[in-house]
């Protein structure tokens, strides 16, 4: 009917006019950023007074036992920094925390959610999650500090690692076993690793050690993170007669693994990589077994060790800003991350540029950062020039100590 067609056409015309008037398209760009040296201009994540840093950590789920204290460490460092004025004494820092549940896909989603409102990421926890986000970090030119010690991160311009890599930990563990640990090249050395990139990092360290020291890895058992029943893997290790086993796991899995081994009366010398331990294990039913057979390889020193200046400061600040925080070496890791990221931010502020490119440039010109003895000094720079620390500390389980670890 012409009547209807006309009105319809009129409606369409009106719409078309509105459309052309609307316009509005294009990116919400993050331009600007450069100001004068010492007073950078506003940019993504920085509004002139507050700097926002992203945190992608498992705050719930099985790995929250690492994520929570680590994030608390980040927070206490920045709380202390803010109490003294902030970065370069002027700019306060705010943390934007997102829960990743240690899942790589969720980490990618949360990254996309917050990347538009932060200057850089001061924590991305997990080897697999960091690897998942890395291509986008490169594309978006954002800097992130991974809470993971894979050697891959050392040569990445977009990542700001701290601490000695897992591979170095593995090599140092084998070194100890062959010298002070009472082992020899003829003993059966095996590995039990989480079945993803995190496990492969430790495995590659052991493989390197095997080549250098001239032994072969007798057996390798893999498991998916979160498995309930480890009887099969323990049986296989026992059946192969393994006398030393290098374990790469997360705390709840490690507890189950040790429990299964204890119940199966299998007691090799366990060397467990640092993320395999949590304070609760020292108070659990497997603690006696762990005291007898398990050594944890990590970095830094015992909680509360007053011989190390950085430790006294950290404990004081923890008591002040997070009084309910229990002793925890993940806390000190997060604390150290805060220190490294602050060094980058201060360099960027002094160069007057807090944009993405500015932060990357600052990280390349950083030089050596010391951590007051809490972890080894790190020489930063462009990826190819970085020198990570290469020393590790061995801990044995001692329920009497704070966090249950004593240095060997």
């Amino acid at each position: 009917m012409p009547h209807n067609r006309l009105s319809l056409a009129a409606v369409f015309a009106a719409i078309v006019l509105t459309v052309s008037a609307c316009g509005g398209a294009g990116n919400s760009g993050g331009g600007g950023g450069s100001g004068n040296a010492g007073t950078p201009g506003s940019t993504t994540g920085f509004d002139g007074t507050t700097i926002k840093l992203g945190v992608l950590s498992p705050l719930s789920g099985a790995v929250a036992v690492i994520g929570q204290p680590l994030t608390a460490g980040n927070k206490v460092w920045f709380d202390h920094l803010n109490s003294t004025g902030g970065v370069a004494g002027k700019y306060k820092v705010e943390l934007v925390q997102e829960d990743t549940q240690y899942k790589p896909d969720v980490t990618v989603q949360q990254y996309n959610k917050v990347k538009g409102s932060v200057v850089a990421f001061t924590q991305i926890l997990g080897t697999a999650p960091t690897l998942a986000v890395l291509p986008q970090l490169r594309a978006d030119k954002i800097l992130a500090a991974p809470a993971s010690l894979d050697a891959l991160w050392v040569r990445e311009d977009n990542l700001l690692p701290i601490g000695g890599p897992y591979q170095v930990q593995a090599i140092n563990a084998v070194d100890h076993y062959l010298t002070d640990g009472g082992g020899s090249k003829d003993n059966k050395i095996c590995t039990m690793i989480q079945d993803d990139v995190y496990g492969e990092a430790g495995q590659s360290g052991i493989d390197f050690a095997a080549k250098s020291y001239g032994f072969t890895v007798a057996n390798t058992q893999k498991f998916k993170q979160g498995t309930e029943n480890y009887a099969g893997q323990i049986q296989a290790l026992a059946g192969a007669g393994c006398q030393m086993v290098f374990l790469v796991a997360t705390p709840s899995d490690a507890g189950k693994i040790f429990g299964t081994a204890a119940q199966g009366r299998y007691a090799p010398k366990w060397y467990a990589q640092s993320p395999s331990y949590a304070g609760a294990l020292a108070k659990s039913a497997v603690a006696p077994y762990m005291q007898a057979s398990v050594l944890i390889i990590s970095e830094g020193t015992e909680w509360g060790d007053s011989a190390v200046p950085g430790m006294t400061d950290m404990v004081a600040r923890a008591t002040k800003f997070a009084p309910s925080q229990q002793p925890d070496y993940y806390f000190s890791f997060g604390y150290n991350q805060g220190r490294a990221m602050t060094a980058v931010l201060e360099k960027a502020v002094s160069m007057g540029d807090l944009s993405r490119d500015g932060i990357l440039n600052a990280s390349k010109q950083l030089g050596t950062v010391t951590f007051d003895g809490l972890t080894g000094d790190y020489t930063y720079g462009a990826g190819a020039d970085r020198k990570p620390p290469r020393s590790s500390t061995l801990f044995a389980i001692d329920p009497a100590k704070p966090f249950g670890l004593k240095t060997v």
């Binding site: 509005g24 919400s28 950590s57 608390a72 896909d105 959610k113 697999a128 998942a132 998916k224």
Partner: protein, 365 residues
């Protein structure tokens, strides 16, 4: 000559028409307008990405509604086909670098083949048994994804570099009339255009002969056989079509997120799709989209405004006792229970009731 009343249908074709009444036509125009204009008006990355995920979920939900709502086959294995589509895209679009139409079609083909393999189970099993077998399918699928490391990257996952290009036109970097559009804006158009296309295809399927056959199989498959509907053929066909659509959803998902891992294709995902289909309305195409919007947007809203909800712990050392994820899960469970108890016909049922009320207005009593 007086016009017949708008509700009087005088021909079968008129009955089948999709957008018959002027109101429906205006609605269609409005929807097209929203599709075109929304990314230009809403430029916020967060909301655009929520809508993109909702759109991808809507595609998957349409597939599941075809299988469960129209054909009555309970399938808990939807996540398996979505995962298959994502990995197919990783290979065809990413490694081989082929353009968008090719990797979409490849994903659909892979989905159809897999659906054809699983379909015969439906011939032998029904109801509860089929549900449990498809449950087993998810676990077998998970085992495959974790072990075919060359394809899926194992437990660590794999990045998907499939570019959404058709010839020189790239949805990731759209440039129109001098304006540069962000990746999210381009993908919004791609995803929702596909939603419209697939909804149209599915609607055409269900309002014609195959659709009636599917519904006959759903209601009484042995009786359907008696009147000449080959139940086996349609059951397998339903599986194939639904799996193909699910794989297309997976392909879009992989291409958008640029990273997929085996953790994602789990029982929870399948159950989410079933919940979407129930909340939206079993046996309706429109309901799938409504359900996807409702169930997809709710977690995002909770996530965004979690600071305002009392009792939710959003940061370390913050107050609250329940994490955002746990809250989402609890609300999800409550939603399922509430909808099933109070409104079994779902959101589409509510919509139809409202529409019917106004059809006879002001004499609706």
């Amino acid at each position: 000559m007086a016009k017949p009343h708008r509700n009087l249908t005088r021909a079968y074709a008129q009955d089948l028409r999709l957008f018959g009444s002027p109101l429906a036509k205006a609605g269609l125009a409005a929807m097209i307008l929203v599709l075109l204009m929304l990314p230009m008006v809403v430029q916020d990355d967060f909301w655009l990405s929520v809508l993109i995920y909702v759109g991808i979920t809507a595609v998957g939900a349409i597939g599941l509604n075809l299988l469960t709502g129209y054909c009555g086959q309970i399938s808990l294995g939807h996540a398996f086909f979505i995962g298959a589509g994502a990995y197919c895209t990783a290979i065809v679009g990413g490694d081989l670098g082929l353009p968008l139409p090719l990797w979409l079609l490849a994903a659909a083909a892979v989905g159809a083949v897999l659906g054809g393999l699983i379909g015969p189970f439906a011939l032998r099993l029904r109801g509860n048994y089929l549900a449990i077998v498809t449950l087993g399918l998810i676990f077998v699928g998970e085992h495959l994804w974790r072990n075919l490391k060359s394809v899926t990257g194992g437990n660590s996952g794999t990045s998907v570099n499939a570019a959404a290009t058709i010839g020189p036109f790239d949805f990731g970097k759209v440039e129109l009339a001098g304006e540069v559009y962000s990746r999210n804006q381009g993908y919004f158009w791609l995803v929702w255009a596909l939603v419209a296309l697939i909804a149209l295809l599915a609607k055409n399927l269900v309002r014609t002969r195959p659709g009636r056959a599917l519904q006959a199989v759903r209601d009484r498959d042995q009786a359907a056989e008696v009147i000449g509907v080959r139940a086996g053929r349609y059951k397998i066909g339903a599986f194939m079509v639904s799996s193909a659509i699910a794989s297309v959803a997976g392909a879009l998902f992989g291409s958008y997120q640029q990273f997929v891992s085996p953790d994602e294709w789990n029982l929870l995902l399948s159950i989410q799709y079933i919940a979407i289909v129930i909340v939206g309305g079993l046996g309706t195409i429109f309901g799938s989209i409504l359900g996807a919007i409702f169930v997809g947007a709710l977690p995002a809203l909770i996530d965004r405004y979690s600071d305002a909800i009392p009792g939710v712990q959003t940061s370390v050392g913050g107050e609250g006792f329940i994490s955002v994820f746990a809250l989402n899960q609890a609300i999800f469970g409550v939603l399922i229970v509430l909808f099933l108890v109070l409104e079994p016909r779902g959101l589409a049922g509510i919509w139809l009731r409202v529409k019917t009320y106004f059809k006879a207005w002001p004499f609706s009593y």
